[in-house]
């Protein structure tokens, strides 16, 4: 193995490790993300990291056809993000269910504030 191949092997190994770390961090945001737009954004980022990963694999294996796959994945990711944005616009601020603690807590707090205000108003009316 000559020097050039050694340099490339080292760099691709480093890039694979770093990109895997980035993938894990982004997946944590998808699982945790308090709202739906956060998850959509993290999904967009996931697609970008996957494109980078495909490019690194193309360098490592020498199959240049992988670049076309990366371009196709970019197209699909863009269309998915646009579709999700339209969905968020159509859905509005629906109450988040399931693992969205922050969104649910925010909704509860808002509802509590509303009922408190109503009671105060009613009390004022009685007086």
């Amino acid at each position: 193995m000559n020097l050039a191949e050694q340099i490339e092997a080292l760099a691709t190994g480093f890039a694979l490790v770093v990109l895997s770390l980035a993938l894990l961090v982004t997946v944590w945001r998808i699982i945790r993300g308090p709202t739906l737009p956060d998850r959509v954004l993290a999904l967009d980022m996931l697609v970008a990291i996957a494109i980078g990963l495909i490019a690194v694999v193309a360098i490592r294996t020498g199959f240049n056809l992988y670049i076309d796959i990366a371009i196709a994945l970019g197209l699909v990711g863009f269309l998915a993000t646009v579709a999700f944005a339209r969905f968020i616009l159509a859905r509005g601020l629906a109450p988040e269910t399931g693992g969205a603690e922050a969104g649910a807590a925010k909704g509860r707090r808002a509802a509590g504030a509303r009922t408190n205000a109503g009671q105060r108003k009613r009390k004022g009316g009685r007086r």
Binding site: V25, L41, D44, T81
Partner: protein, 119 residues
């Protein structure tokens, strides 16, 4: 091919790989660390695009083929073209749906509700 040229190409590709992977990691860290959807979007749409674009460019240069290099550049150009569009669309949709900015934000110049969408 002279050995010097080979080593120079390897160093160039390695530098592009390292810088692109680091940009991607920093974008992912920004997505986790920023407090707000609208601030997270900065990290995702700028650093993320540059990261994957530099990696594609490295793959195109490594192939030593003009057709493949042009294809990789076309992919890079496509990402640079679409990332702002999708980020802007997502931010506008989230803002119009009523997702609030973080408490740290100073000013919100976009009117909250332009028109009632469901009459």
């Amino acid at each position: 091919m002279s050995p010097f040229f080979e080593i120079a190409m390897a160093v160039l590709v390695a530098a592009l790989l390292i810088v692109g992977a680091t940009f991607s990691l920093l974008a992912a860290v920004g997505i986790v660390r920023f407090p707000d959807l609208y601030t997270r979007m900065h990290a995702a749409s700028k650093a993320g695009t540059i990261g994957s674009g530099l990696l594609l460019l490295a793959a195109g240069i490594h192939s030593l083929d003009v057709a493949i290099l042009i294809r990789a550049l076309a992919g890079f150009f496509f990402f640079v073209l679409t990332a702002p569009i999708s980020a802007h669309l997502l931010a506008k949709a989230a803002h119009q749906a009523g997702y609030r900015l973080a408490k740290l934000s100073v000013i919100d110049q976009l009117p909250q509700k332009e028109e009632p969408r469901r009459g």
